[in-house]
Amino acid sequence: MDTEAKLVNKEIVYEMKNLSAWFGKNQVLKNVSLKIYRNKITAIMGPSGCGKTTLLRCFNRLNDYTESFRVEGDIFFNGQNIYQMDPVQLRRRVGMVFQRPNPFPMSIFDNVAYGPRIHGLAKKRGLSERVEKALKAAALWDEVHGELRKSAYKLSGGQQQRLCIARAVAVEPEVILLDEPTSALDPIATERIEKLLEDLSSRYTIVIVTHSIGQALRISDYLGFMYKGELVEFGETSQVSEDPRHELTQLFLTGRIG
């Protein structure tokens, strides 16, 4: 199998080149370079404090709002430098799901409809269809279709997280970023969301940060391992897990560190 040719044929959604980042004097990312491929699930794993969440938040420039944050290097989204783009526009094409579910203080319907509404994506009739489609994609439709006007806060943790996924999907982004999306959920809810992500990857590019090795190995196509701000290893999951190039990766995978 010619790995070189395989790589060249895939579409690159994000390219990160020599990215370093600081919070004040504290350097949290050290010279990270990687590529995110379209319609694949890329997982970034590593021990607590390794910088993986910061890395993820660079993709949609959410770190910009922290006063002390500073960045060097480039990130390209479909070839365009994201720091030369309007961040609001960037976030209309890149969605995010957070560690703790954070639905809006509104009904289930309004949560999912929020994105399309502010982006001017649908008129009244089109909106209901969009919401239904998104809720189906997030495997939540069957459970809530009769009570769309109910407050989102009345859902269980797992349901709220799927609602957040539906909310992100409703605007039809190109990429969905997920920051440890199942760490606050029980194993059953976790399993449902993992299956969901696998289904979604046929239409969306998924980047997921996780501290669960099992999860990373289960669902990802590409796997990156971070340690103390450095991207120690990155490549196809099968290769990284079976034949890691770096000793640290091996230690992490076998539970010796982290």
């Binding site: 006063e67 609001v88 995010m96 957070f98 954070n102 502010i118 605007v171």
Partner: protein
């Protein structure tokens, strides 16, 4: 055990204080409620305040509160939003916050003096409804603004990030936060107005008369208000006028209790 003694003592203290406070507060209500009848509410005072009703005082307070609400609620809420969501460098936000807290702690008579010098004299409004409402508004805005900004800042950042992550711009994100804090914003407004309703010193100086024979016809006319009426009767009129003060006091207490009960109900409903 020592714990039980301490607990009993404190319990005793608490119960005694509560019973006494409630009794003391209800004293004017009970003494005044017996005078509640249509005459009391619809007639002007007469015979040296010994007969008639408090109609002009009710109207005066109503007009005053309406103007204060119009001036101070929008401004107060906007200031609160500004302080919480837009004032970004931390030193600026701290400075503004201290300024606003200072303004809420200024003695009410000082606001009265300011109102007198600025609105009555410099601006030429004289002793009037207008001067009094402006003065009270300047007192209420910092209170409402500070309270609103506290509620907004209490909204978890997760919510702001969720909105930003989906591509909401600053304005849309701020609206989302306001939505999340809407109970707090409403209660801040009601409490601010309740506080303004009970204020006496500033309007004594800038807008009130003690004995009106007709209703204010223009914004520049002076007014009778419930709180100044109580003060006037108790300090300037003989004992057979006291019943009017009891009546007004009872009315005021009932209104305040109503406002606070509404606030408490709103709070309970939202959680």
């Amino acid at each position: 055990m020592a714990d039980r003694i301490a607990s009993s003592l404190l319990k005793l203290l608490t119960y005694i204080v509560f019973v006494i406070s409630t009794a003391v507060i209800l004293f004017p209500v009970f003494k005044g409620i017996r005078y509640f009848n249509p005459t009391f509410f619809t007639e002007f005072p007469s015979q040296g305040m010994t007969q008639g009703g408090i109609f002009p005082a009710i109207v005066g307070s109503l007009l005053l509160m309406s103007l204060v609400a119009v001036f101070s609620v929008p401004v107060g809420v906007l200031i609160g939003v500004f302080l919480s969501e837009y004032a970004k460098p931390t030193w600026l936000s701290a400075l503004l916050r201290t300024t606003i807290t200072t303004m809420t702690s200024i003695p009410s008579i000082v606001y009265g003096l300011f109102g007198l010098a600025f609105f009555c004299i410099t601006m030429g409004f004289g002793t009037s409804l207008l001067s009094a409402s402006f003065t009270l508004s300047i007192m209420t805005v910092p209170f409402v603004g500070g309270s609103v900004s506290n509620f907004l800042m209490a909204v978890s950042n997760d919510l702001r990030e969720a909105a930003m992550a989906i591509g909401a711009d600053k304005r849309e994100t701020v609206f989302m936060v306001i939505r999340a804090a809407k109970t707090g914003i409403l209660s801040s407004t009601l409490l601010g107005l309740g506080r303004a309703f009970g204020e006496t010193a500033p309007i004594l100086v800038t807008g009130a008369v003690f004995y009106a024979t007709n209703l204010p016809r223009r914004l520049t006319d002076p007014i009778m208000t419930l709180p100044t009426h109580i003060y006037a009767v108790v300090t300037n009129f003989p004992e057979d006028a006291y019943w009017m003060a009891y009546g007004s006091a009872a009315l005021m207490v009932i209104i305040i209790v109503a406002i606070y009960s509404i606030v408490q109900w709103i709070r309970r409903r939202s959680s």
